[in-house]
Point group: C2
Chain length 359, copies 2
């Protein structure tokens, strides 16, 4: 998560205002525009540039503009049980649907111990960690999953059959940072190839393959017919596990919501999600839970290390540290190419331009 020297640091306040203004120009109501901007910025604060503001214009604004995303969705519950529900997101912004559905899961967990909400007819929701992390302030464990674009080959396959599905889990710990797992069920997410492409870097063998099944190392050659590999990479190193996890996400999102898995939905445009919350005190006193967590974290950090490794970090720990630092600084790095896209869009939508470095 090092920041290349050529990425200017931009004020988070101004970025938020810019994104909100931009979305409002596309007829997105203020509440949804604010949520979307906040969730995108949180990804940048946590160093997840692949799911942050970089996509504001090309993913969301362009799709709102060409009618692929409904700016004013009406959310409807197709099913509503004490611990379970299914939300039809009316093809609105995934951020608004995700926030709404996760809030409902948390509400159900307050009553019964667990809440689980599947969401269909939605669109790309950014980084899944945000929704899972909504559970933390309620002393709950949070889950968030989503279908992703159909770019992954099953083990033994050479074509695009399954999605870049994602799985996020967040849980309180005994320390300042929460545990946060935020992963694509492929070896890497497509965003990593985009970033390597923007930086002109090659990618390691094992991330992707050509249509003929040869290793792909030039990120620019992903399209149109190369594929990403499921976590594990090759069958002997566990690709059936990554494949199985990808299907698990598809089942809990696209099949359970009834709106279609990544094999079926319009690749990368529409999406199905699910959100879950488990109230820790429905299982065990919070203090006991935290004692067990502390023991685990201490044991992991006490492990003998490889040369050159200073500290073993818990998933979510480095992102938390970076977010604290960037929040204090009030700025996040934005790639010059992304900033240029913002400037063009500002002109197009007649938005005053004030996103300059350090301002």
């Amino acid at each position: 998560m090092s920041v290349p020297a050529d990425e200017p640091l931009i004020s988070t306040t101004k970025l938020l205002a810019f994104a909100e203004t931009m979305l409002a120009k596309l007829d997105v109501p203020q509440e949804h525009a604010a949520l979307t901007s906040r969730i995108l910025l949180e990804a940048d604060l946590r160093g997840v540039a692949s799911h942050g503001m970089a996509h504001l214009v090309d993913f969301y604004v362009r799709r709102l503009q060409n009618g692929k995303i409904n700016p004013r969705p009406e959310f409807n519950l197709d099913s509503d049980q004490p611990s379970a529900a299914t939300l039809n997101a009316d093809n609105g912004l995934g951020f608004a649907a995700g926030h709404h559905a996760m809030s409902l899961a948390i509400e159900k967990a307050q009553t019964t111990g667990i809440g689980w909400v599947s969401v269909g007819n939605s669109t790309h929701y950014g980084a899944g960690a945000y929704y899972a992390m909504m559970a933390l302030e309620h002393d709950m464990i949070g889950f968030s999953m989503s279908t992703g674009g159909r770019l992954v080959a099953p083990p033994g396959g050479l074509g695009r059959a399954i999605g870049l599905n994602v799985l996020s889990v967040a849980a309180p710990t005994s320390r300042e940072f929460p545990y946060v797992l935020d992963m694509a069920t492929s070896v890497v997410a497509a965003g990593k190839l985009e970033i390597a492409g923007r930086r002109g870097e090659s990618i390691p063998e094992g991330w992707a393959q050509t249509a003929a099944g040869e290793p792909l190392t030039d990120p620019a050659k992903l399209h149109p017919d190369s594929t990403l590999l499921p976590l594990g990479g090759t069958p002997v190193l566990g690709a059936f596990k990554g494949f199985g996890l990808t299907i698990m996400v598809d089942i809990l999102t696209g099949a359970l919501s009834g709106f279609g898995t990544s094999a079926e939905i319009d690749s990368g445009l529409t999406a199905a999600h699910c959100f879950g919350a488990m109230r820790i005190e429905a299982f065990q006193p919070l203090a006991d839970y935290k004692e067990r967590m502390e023991h685990m974290i201490a044991a992991i950090k006490d492990t003998p290390k490889r040369e050159g490794v200073d500290e073993i970090m818990i998933p979510g720990e480095p992102e938390h540290a970076l977010a604290e630092e960037r929040r204090a600084d009030g700025r996040v790095p934005v790639h010059p190419r992304v900033l240029a896209g913002f400037k063009e869009a500002a002109e197009e939508f007649d938005i005053p331009w004030d996103l300059e470095e350090g301002s």
Copy 2:
């Protein structure tokens, strides 16, 4: 899952009777003895020899014998909410605790849509798939997770900090076979090394490392200080994901139950689990769910294949086919060394010996 020619085929009826009789000799009540034997045999039927009858004597009988497992546990609910519960398994056989807890999760899901039960103070429960699959006949999606022996190094680490934790998910499909994911969150489970060891085979690079961090390829050298690697293997190929999944299982089992994660519990002897059930019709009509599943399965099977790959199989599909075949045949393969151990134990416990090939 090919069967080496030197593994005799033994009658499933006789194996079941043998295991039940053996467990009864160790003071295990009939119901628990029958459940344990059935769950072990199901693993053998599905070709998961690493978690089947092979462990009857060395894992379970020996631990009952030396007081490490309580033959007559009293299960107690530490917490019981509409959708959530925590079971204290009283150090009984994990099979009995698992069956009891999964049944409770299914019962809760009938009422609220979801049930989730964490279990502490338990012992090794065999193959997790059995419990997750209990959900299938109720048209539910099933989950089962467990801590495993502390044998895995975190990314960047060289010591045993985390468990061979396992995650199982089962879901109905549109086809005859169910979707069943049954995975260790490491590249491979320890059972794969045991089997390679019994067969005198080496293991691929990427499964395990020596205490110095070099690749380990001789399975006999796992103990005392080598380690297995989390799924992904190396950081660049996603080891942080396997590591994060391992911790997720620890949180949902050992921390949520309050009885301790794999970092803390007596490695490989005691265990914490969790079990979940989601009623599909609490989210969506079953027919709609199955339609989405059929679309997904068809798309995966239609993918262009690598040379030499006849068919892309869904997780659980090959195990289902093998189990059908073996159920019809009424026999499963048992390694001669395992059979010899059975014979010795039969003499020790004064059990009539009738486990001969083909009988």
